[in-house]
């Protein structure tokens, strides 16, 4: 599968995530769009790791090039899980104090 197809797919998913962050005001939906962008990057990392494997396999049949890329994806997932738990706790506190999940309420932080 040509690598360009994967790049176009991931760019589209990433742009949809950006549009979601810019157009929605519900804090939970904004957070979900951030998750969507993280997943687009993960898919691109896996595709690139298999691309480098394809070029390295020509010279050496037993090469393990590309393992690092897949482990980075694993660590990104770990960090995303930690981020979600803290972020959702912050959103719950926002809701408890303002009875809304509108991110425009966060304007008050600047005073």
């Amino acid at each position: 599968m040509p690598i360009q197809y994967y790049i176009y797919l991931c760019l589209t998913l990433f742009s949809i995530g950006i549009i979601g962050v810019l157009t929605r005001r519900n804090a939970i939906i904004v957070f979900m769009c951030v998750e969507l962008m993280l997943n687009a990057v993960n898919l691109l990392l896996v595709a690139f790791s298999k691309m480098h494997l394809a070029t390295a396999l020509v010279a050496d049949k037993a090469t393990k090039v590309g393992t690092d890329g897949q482990l980075f994806v694993f660590f990104i997932m770990v960090v995303a899980a930690a981020e979600v738990s803290v972020g959702l706790a912050i959103i719950v506190m926002l809701y408890r104090n303002t009875h809304s999940v509108d991110i425009n309420f966060l304007n008050r932080l600047k005073n």
Binding site: I3, A80, A89, I91
Partner: protein, 167 residues
Amino acid sequence: MSITEILFFFLSALAIGSAIMVLVSKNPVYSVLWLVAVFFAISGHYILLNAQFLAIVNLIVYAGAIMVLFLFVIMLMNLNAHSEPQKNLWMKLAGVISGGCFLMVLVSLVRQANELSNKKALTVEGNIGLIKNLGKVLFNDYVVSFEITSVLFLSAMIGAIVIGKKD
């Protein structure tokens, strides 16, 4: 068209369509369910790339744990389509135009890149994505970062409890 290409285009259409539905849905619960569909499509892509470990981890961590957490929070707050805050139309239009400009710039960049021509991602061959290989590298070369990850999780857990505690 081979079966790999058919699967690729089917999963891509599923991912992009579900991602658009995440944005369009008025009800946050529907948005979460469409996002789960996106994660299933991305897991299908991982299986297609023979990254079986990441496919299972993606399903368990994202579609299983994180999305259930989102659903819990949404149902705890009793959000629905009526309480949904809306931006005005011009702000939405500006967001879509700026996101589209970003997409256009990056696509034109990729189209001009000579380094990427004739490069292929192996779809079925290659066994670097199996658990055996990844586990060996993870517990030999990356064992320090793996341990630091446990500290990160502990601090995130304590942070979530401290923030969410009633005071």
